[in-house]
């Protein structure tokens, strides 16, 4: 084995180092650059009570401040289809494919596409 290692050509060694470096840096790069699998996270009063992948259709009923709240996932979109708060603004939001749906009276926040997902990559926040 020692002899085999010694007999590696320079090109062999260079190629080995190059491939190792490429795959090692690649691990870090994709972790930074590639968005994690799109998720739906439902928080009630700051606590995550439900997490599911965005690409599996699902219908759930969760406990919130004012009774149950219904979350529907379909075709990579999410909506609130049941709520028992006075104005039901969250239901009027309709289908959301990315961003958040908020139900203030129920303190429910539905993150569509992961928690840190931004509407716009260049903007850190929006006023208005």
């Amino acid at each position: 084995m020692k002899r085999a290692i010694r007999d590696m050509t320079i090109a062999d060694r260079v190629l080995l180092v190059m491939l190792l470096a490429l795959s090692l840096t690649g691990i870090f790069i994709v972790r930074e650059a590639v968005p994690l699998t799109a998720e739906v996270i439902v928080e009630v009063d700051g606590r995550a009570v439900f997490t599911a992948p965005l690409d599996a259709d699902k219908n759930v009923l969760l406990d919130s401040i004012h009774g149950k709240i219904g979350i529907e996932i379909k075709d990579r979109m999410v909506r609130i289809n049941e709520a028992h708060c006075p104005n039901r603004l969250c239901m009027k939001e309709g289908w959301v494919s990315q961003g958040v749906i908020v139900c203030l009276p129920n303190k429910v926040v539905v993150f569509v596409g992961g928690r840190g997902n931004r509407l716009n990559k260049e903007l850190d926040a929006v006023t208005g």
Partner: protein, 171 residues
């Protein structure tokens, strides 16, 4: 085809099949992790008898192995075939073009790289179709592939040295 060539191909294919089968029954910490031991034979065949022999041995190995395991023309077979053909093609052309720049280790590395690249591409096109999942896993696969590729190359080098030695050390 001279009889001698047929004989060589048969023997090499048999070796490759044994390694392929041995690898299949070897328990692995991660199910999709493969050592790619059969690629040792591909490299050895290429360096001893040329590209055509290497390709024939690879094809025979993949087709026969899939028949033994009952996966012929199934998804696993497609991946195996794509990876094997791509890596043999790549190793053959690099060997022909670089004129001895790469030794067995370098060729084995190239083989493993193209084997993985082709399988990832095929997996994306045929099965997963989620580019982020493929991108996320590919550097890890390449890292493992590079390590196993290097070890396989060293083994191939040792094999070649023993085969080429006119007078064996021990008999």
């Amino acid at each position: 085809m001279p009889l001698q060539d047929k004989y060589r191909i048969a023997v090499l294919s048999a070796y490759a099949l044994v390694l392929h089968g041995f690898e299949a029954i070897l328990p692995m910490p991660i199910p999709w992790l493969r050592l790619g031991l059969a690629n040792i034979i591909t490299v050895v065949a290429l360096l001893l008898y040329g590209f055509r022999t290497a390709m024939t041995v690879t094809l025979i190995r993949i087709i026969l192995a899939s028949m033994f395991t009952g996966t012929f023309l199934g998804p696993a077979f497609m991946l195996s075939l794509g990876g094997g053909v791509a890596s043999t093609l790549a190793v053959g052309s690099v060997h022909a073009l670089s004129q001895g720049l790469f030794g067995p280790v370098g060729l084995s590395l190239i083989g493993s790289f193209f084997h993985n690249a082709a399988q990832l591409a095929l997996a994306y096109l045929l099965f997963i179709q989620r580019i982020e999942a493929v991108l996320l896993i590919s550097p890890v696969i390449f890292l493992i592939g590079t390590s196993t590729g290097a070890v396989n190359g060293l083994i191939a080098d040792l094999l070649l040295k023993n085969i080429r030695k006119p007078v064996p050390d021990k008999v």
